[in-house]
Amino acid sequence: MLTMAPNLTLLSDLTPPSLERTWLTAPHPTLPLVATCSSDKTVRVYSLTNFKLLSTITGGHKRSVRTCAWKPHVQGESVLATGSFDATVGIWRRWDSYGRVGVMVAVGMLLATCARDKSIWIWEDLDDGDNNFETVAVMQEHGGDVKCVSWHPVEECLASGGYDDTIRLWREDLDDWGQVACIKKHEGTVWALDWEGPETTPHSSEQSLQAQWREQRALSGPRLVSCSDDRTVRIWRRLPKESALPSTLSSAATGIPSIIRPTGTDETWEEDAVLPQSHALVVYSVAWSHKSGLLASVGADGRIVVYEERLVASTPDTDAMDTESESRAPLKTEWVILAVVNGAHGIYEINHVAWAKRADRGSSDGEEVLITTADDGSVKVWTLQP
């Protein structure tokens, strides 16, 4: 499979780097810049146009900055949330002189934080000009540190993963946030989660297959990818609501009013795929491109692995016994490793990977870069050459 493999080529380092461990690099939702969190208690903002440091946020945190996230869908202003080992969350704002026309949407007002104390907090940005955040919900179902949270790309749904090896999904139901699914399949800490983009399609030469696949996916919604201490990368798919219908009907048929949460909110999530085994140590981060549908994973072994999903052409079944169910059988896909870079940051562990829009000179429209963040403080930008 690797014979026609594209190359993952180093485009540039982000300079100057932090001299201590960097944990994560978050691309800005619209502008060509990224924020990198470091153990030196700072956040560095770099340009993706020239790969140089634009500014350093210091003085806010007393310990390592572990994570950060940009507020989406804001215009004229950039808002960054940071989380630190000092157990605080920082909110940083910067007005851009060249405000863009943003799209006002309802989502993007909620902030989710997770912590060592097994809890997930959901906050609403009151946007009252006074930096007030209101606690919307506190969920404490996880049995250990909550290592990651990730918002669904279109729905108000949150996924979390943690030290208890589980992935949990959360939704709001009648003003109350609650767990709608718990996936117990990883055999180690779940370090990171990412959602499939709502518009990508697996690779195929047959457009009709792709169209069929999109129809199918419309029923279950975007999938979720997870990576773990158990060295695997797995993909999860929600069973289409139709499948859950019979049970909902039967409970309705009993006519007994339910005091407890209606079972209708529960979701069944199935393992869709286990990606080809390619990491020798813990997988710390995984990123699913919303543009190309490509997946990338990184970890303690210092490897970057890029995967592509391909639709498998269905082989016509000569056994006519089962034609009806066959025609309704879900389309199959396979994940193929497109590129592997060993020692991408030399001898150092890689903590994070993210896709971003390419913005330097020489980039073509719609092109993407991969950004990796490592233990020695280095942040590298890569391009996938066909």
Binding site: R63, D145, L281, D301, G302, G343, I347
Partner: protein, 189 residues
């Protein structure tokens, strides 16, 4: 420490602990004195000293043992070597990525034997060993410190904590915990 968990541990004699010095001593004794006094000419004449600087001396199990054997037990003024919490046969060094040709990454595995099976300090001891090795070894080493199987009632739990990069990193920034670790390290030479 409120109450000792193991007030009467078995202690090994320091002189009986494995060392490289003794082996080295023997070798030197067997070499005629006249050669021993001669400086190694190769060392002085070597022209590609730049390359030599880049070449690390290989690190072996004995060296790892020497780095951690003097760490003190958090509740006794006795070293982990003397308590046989760490021992030479329970240390191994292996290539981290055997399938990657030329990869410099090596994994050091240290199995810890707590003095008693329910020792609540096992995590602190393990953290001390991990911190000591991470601070002493070049970064191409991956440090894997775990409880020797069957020697602790909650070994898996302790192992999971010791293997969690984020927890270890956060612990290093925890002043109270680092004071305990620093105290354990005081006896390191």
């Amino acid at each position: 420490m409120a109450e000792m968990q193991n007030s009467n541990p078995t202690i090994l004699n320091v002189a009986d602990l494995p060392t490289r010095n003794r082996a080295a001593q023997k070798t030197r004794d067997s070499i005629p004195e006249i050669f021993a006094a001669t400086p190694d000419l190769v060392d002085f004449l070597s022209s590609d000293s730049e390359d030599d600087d880049l070449l690390e001396e290989p690190i072996d199990e004995q060296e790892i043992y020497d780095l951690i054997k003097y760490i003190s037990d958090p509740e006794h003024p006795i070293s982990l070597g003397e308590l046989a919490v760490v021992s030479l046969p329970d240390i191994s060094i292996k290539p981290t990525l055997p399938d990657v040709i030329g990869s410099p990454l090596q994994t050091v595995t240290v199995l810890i034997t707590p003095t008693i099976t329910h020792c609540s300090l096992a995590t602190v001891i393990g953290l001390g060993v991990r911190v000591r090795l991470e601070q002493s070894l070049p970064p191409r080493f991956r440090v894997d410190v775990r409880i020797k199987e069957g020697t602790h009632s909650t070994g898996d739990e302790v192992n999971k904590q010791l293997g969690d990069k984020e927890r270890v990193a956060a612990a290093l920034e925890n002043g109270a915990l680092m004071q305990v670790i620093a105290k354990m390290m005081e006896t390191c030479r």
